[in-house]
Amino acid sequence: MTIPSVPPECYLVLSGILFTIGVIGALTRRNAIVVFMCIEMMLNAVNISFITLSRFLQSLDGVLFAFFVIAVAAAEAAVGLAIFVMIYRSRETINVDEINLLKW
């Protein structure tokens, strides 16, 4: 009797759960940096599903896509955190409820 190996569905469901936790965090937290961390978590969950599918379809496109996602996340981290520092310097807060200058 052989035990079946971990099916792709498990990885995809885990990726969905992590993505949902990230969405809930980004919706409920008010600290802009924690919202940013939740967005990074969502990007990571998407990477899991890319790499899972590329493993089970035996292709490398998903891996390279995840590579580009990580590169864009790094660029986003640099610019986003610089924006947070600038907002804090001018408004003394990074609470996302109070930053409503661009609200129509």
Partner: protein, 175 residues
């Protein structure tokens, strides 16, 4: 028999890492101190990187630890230390209707994902990169990156330069 033992270990590692990442990510969104959130974020990223190892992608494992757990979280912690963030600690988490409704919609979305994953197993054109071929070396990834994906690679390099320049300009003091 040896095959069975390998599979059992794979299942054990998968279950442990999946449980660990879910608990760590729940802690990220519930801790009130942002520094604690950042440290649990590192734990989440490490658990996810072990998943990449289970999927025979050592290259992504290394990149994940270097870039996410190393660079990005270090940057986040650094900025958190620079800013004085006592307000959320004092005011605590407030729940509005909009947040509850949004979270419920997100959970509904999760059920949609689970249904679509379980209902039909992933199909598509199966390529030639079997686990034996890609595990243990990054030659296949590098070859594909520098031939088929050369143009996106160049664009990403331009994007990174633009991000560095943008970050420097944004954080410079206005004169």
């Amino acid at each position: 028999m040896a095959e069975n033992i390998v599979t059992i270990f794979q299942w054990l590692i998968f279950l442990g890492v999946a449980f660990g990442s879910i608990v760590a990510s729940l802690l990220v969104i519930t801790r009130k101190n942002p520094i604690h959130s950042a440290l649990f974020l590192v734990l989440t990223f490490l658990c996810v990187s072990v998943l990449y190892l289970l999927l025979y992608q050592q290259f992504m494992f290394i990149i994940q630890i270097f870039v996410y757990a190393g660079a990005i979280v270090m940057l986040i912690v650094f900025v958190l230390m620079l800013l004085d963030l006592e307000e959320e600690l004092r005011s605590g988490l407030k729940l509005y209707y909009s947040k509850v409704i949004g979270s419920m919609l997100a959970v509904l979305f999760l059920f949609g994902i689970i249904f679509s994953v379980v209902a039909k197993s992933p199909t598509g054109k199966v390529g030639s990169y079997t686990p034996d071929k890609v595990s243990g070396n990054v030659k296949a990834v590098g070859e594909m990156l520098f031939t088929q994906y050369l143009f996106p690679f160049e664009i990403v390099s331009v994007l990174l330069v633009a991000a560095i320049v943008g970050a420097v300009i944004l954080s410079k003091k206005r004169t």
